[in-house]
């Protein structure tokens, strides 16, 4: 049995290809790295020329940057939250998914966290947000939701990094003991001297469980707080009591979409179909389908109440989305976020890798549009009509947006090249559970069979 398990483990480690040249990954990392340079190029221009190169101006002081910030923070809910929920509920099919999901969280947060700094314009003043004694006589205002954001995102990024790192230790030890030369030393450094003793396993599993329980409310709080950046103001269509859960649902929805795309690419690019199997796509697809319905419900509830109340300032924003300037993006959002997923995901054929990846691509576009539509029309049409404004994203903002996608993908490629993107020990543990269950089932079945039928001569088959 061990030989069989070991063979399967060897095959998995081989597919993860950490010790051989994988041209697809290298080319992917190279290309996305080039796109990532666009991000830094555009940011460099902004640092040189000032925040004026971005299209934001009074009254639309939040544009593509904050939209993209909210988008990436939403994407970050893919990993740690989904992984933690699946761990806490003991879903066995989670095993190959958790690490690729957790990596998404870490990198999405890393990219998203740059946007408030970018949006500040004078990025070198970021330390003004820290509550340290200073000669300016200025202190951060913790009554501002923006400071809540800083606290929540800091806690979440630290938590996500540690939640990703802890289960990585035994895998680093596996790689350490399988490799030679400098790789052995590097993996050995990250394995921290892990030996796989019974006490270590027990403590690690206890730690992962505790962390999963802590991470779930933390993840929920992060996107709730992001929603409060909006909901705590008097801007039309922002003051909403359902914004917290609405944002959390949207975040999980876009997070699953990103996870689906990542899983599909890993499955095709690294031949991981045996692990990121149709069953995994089917199960995650069901969750995706449920989130489609939840997102549709919240969106409907949000717009219905504004439409019914017909308050002048809010109705102006609402109709600019329905039939006005923003009707195109709004209905595109409705189609790609709700109509298409609901036509595809309820069916088993729709929960295969290709359909889910295509639907997910649409959902990512739709969720970015959703955040844009929450922010821009409301700021363009404020309550005081003398400050009406018009907003078009500048080329710098668009370059930053595209570059951020490249930066995220580059991080992900680099991670996949250097770290097992599937948790080897967790998958192996799953195989052992399968074997012990099938063994127990066989043992339970055997005496009954023996009792009923005498053993045929020669042992039979």
């Amino acid at each position: 049995m061990t030989n069989d398990l070991q063979e399967r483990e060897n095959r998995l480690v081989g597919r993860l290809s950490l010790d051989r040249f994988r041209p697809g990954l290298v080319v992917g990392a190279g290309l996305t790295g080039l796109v990532a340079l666009v991000f830094f190029y555009a940011w460099g221009i902004q640092l040189r020329d000032g925040i004026g190169v971005a299209g934001i101006n009074r009254p639309v002081f939040w544009g593509v940057y904050i939209t993209t910030f909210v988008f990436w923070i939403g994407i970050s809910h893919a990993g740690t939250l989904i992984s933690a929920i699946l761990r806490v509920t003991g879903a066995e099919w989670r095993r190959p998914v958790t690490r690729c999901a957790e990596a998404i969280t870490l990198f999405a947060l890393s990219v998203g966290g740059l946007f408030p700094i970018l949006h500040m314009g004078r990025a070198w003043k970021v330390y003004f947000m820290l509550p340290i004694p200073n000669s300016r006589g200025l202190w951060p205002n913790f009554r501002s939701p923006l400071m809540w954001d800083a606290a929540a995102i800091t806690a979440y990024i630290v938590g996500s990094f540690l939640y990703l790192s802890l289960p990585l230790i035994p895998d680093m030890a596996i790689l350490r003991d399988r490799s030679k030369g400098w790789r052995r030393r590097v993996f050995g450094l990250f394995a921290l001297g892990w030996q796989g003793s019974a006490q270590q396993w027990r403590s690690l599993e206890s730690g992962i469980k505790v962390m999963a329980v802590v991470i779930i409310p933390l993840a929920v709080s992060v996107h709730t707080i992001v929603s409060w950046d909006f909901a705590m103001t008097q801007v039309p269509m922002w003051t909403s009591t359902i914004f917290g859960p609405y944002f959390v649902v949207g975040a999980i929805y876009s997070g699953i979409a990103m996870l689906m795309i990542a899983m599909a690419l890993l499955r095709w690019g690294m031949d991981l179909g045996d692990y990121l199997s149709d069953k995994v796509f089917n199960n995650l697809g069901l969750l995706f389908c449920a989130m489609t319905l939840a997102w549709g419900y919240f969106t409907f509830a949000e717009h219905l109440t504004v439409w019914y109340a017909n308050e002048v300032a809010e109705a102006r924003v609402l109709w600019s989305r329905f039939t006005g300037k923003w009707a195109g993006p709004f209905w595109t959002m409705v189609i790609v976020n709700f109509v298409i997923p609901i036509c595809v995901l309820p069916f088993r054929w729709g929960r295969k890798p290709l359909p889910t990846a295509l639907v997910s691509l649409g959902v990512l576009v739709g969720m970015w549009l959703e955040r844009f539509l929450i922010i821009v029309p409301s700021l363009e049409l404020p309550r005081l009509a003398y400050t009406l404004g018009d907003y078009t994203p500048s080329s710098i903002e668009l370059m930053v947006l595209i570059g951020s996608v490249g930066l995220f993908a580059f991080f992900y490629f680099a991670f996949t090249m250097n770290v097992p993107i599937i948790s080897v020990w967790e998958v192996r543990e799953g195989w052992e559970h399968e074997n012990s269950h099938s063994g127990a089932a066989a043992a339970a079945a055997a005496p009954q069979t023996d009792a009923r039928t005498p053993e045929p001569a020669g042992g039979g088959s």
Binding site: T2, R143, W148, R202, V214
Partner: protein, 164 residues
């Protein structure tokens, strides 16, 4: 009192390990010291290996408490250091301080949990038996028994000994 020895045996799988543990149990004065494996042991085997109850949840609770206290102090003392009137709120407003405290609790708990795992696992560590490590990497289960010297030979026949 008879002489004792530490016997390290490499078992091929769970069933083999169970056999060794069963046999060792029959030897008077024998004790399982540890089992090393490349994935967690099956629960039925894990309960036969003496381990301490991990104190990681205690670390998490203490860390959460400390983190919450620190965050509470940062938020409330900062507000007092710069007493700015905002939106009819008191200088130290409970809901915002509560939110910061909540995040502090989470951050403290996560950091302390990690610290707890490292302490409980005795990591980082430089002690490593490369023979045992390579066996574990090959998927074998390496059990270390503390047995009377006169029983070592008999037990050694059950599985391949690594060191004695």
């Amino acid at each position: 009192m008879s002489e004792r020895t530490a016997l390290t045996l490499a078992c091929t799988d769970d069933v083999h390990l169970a056999e060794v543990l069963d046999r060792a149990q029959l030897v008077d004065g024998s004790r399982v010291r540890d089992v090393r494996s490349s994935s967690p042991l099956a629960p039925s085997l894990a309960e036969r290996v003496p381990t301490r109850i991990p104190r990681v949840p205690i670390f998490a609770i203490l860390g959460g408490g400390l983190g919450g206290l620190a965050a509470d102090l940062i938020a409330s003392l900062t507000a007092q250091a710069d007493p700015m009137i905002t939106g009819h709120m008191p200088i130290v407003a409970a809901p915002p301080v509560g939110i910061i405290t909540y995040e502090g609790i989470a951050l403290g708990a996560v950091l302390a949990t990690t610290l707890g795992v490292l302490i409980e696992c005795r990591l980082p560590s430089s002690r490593r038996n490369s023979e045992v490590a390579s066996r574990v990497a090959r998927g074998e289960l390496v059990v270390t028994l503390d047995v009377p010297a006169n029983a070592a030979d008999e037990l050694s026949r059950l599985a391949e000994p690594i060191t004695r």
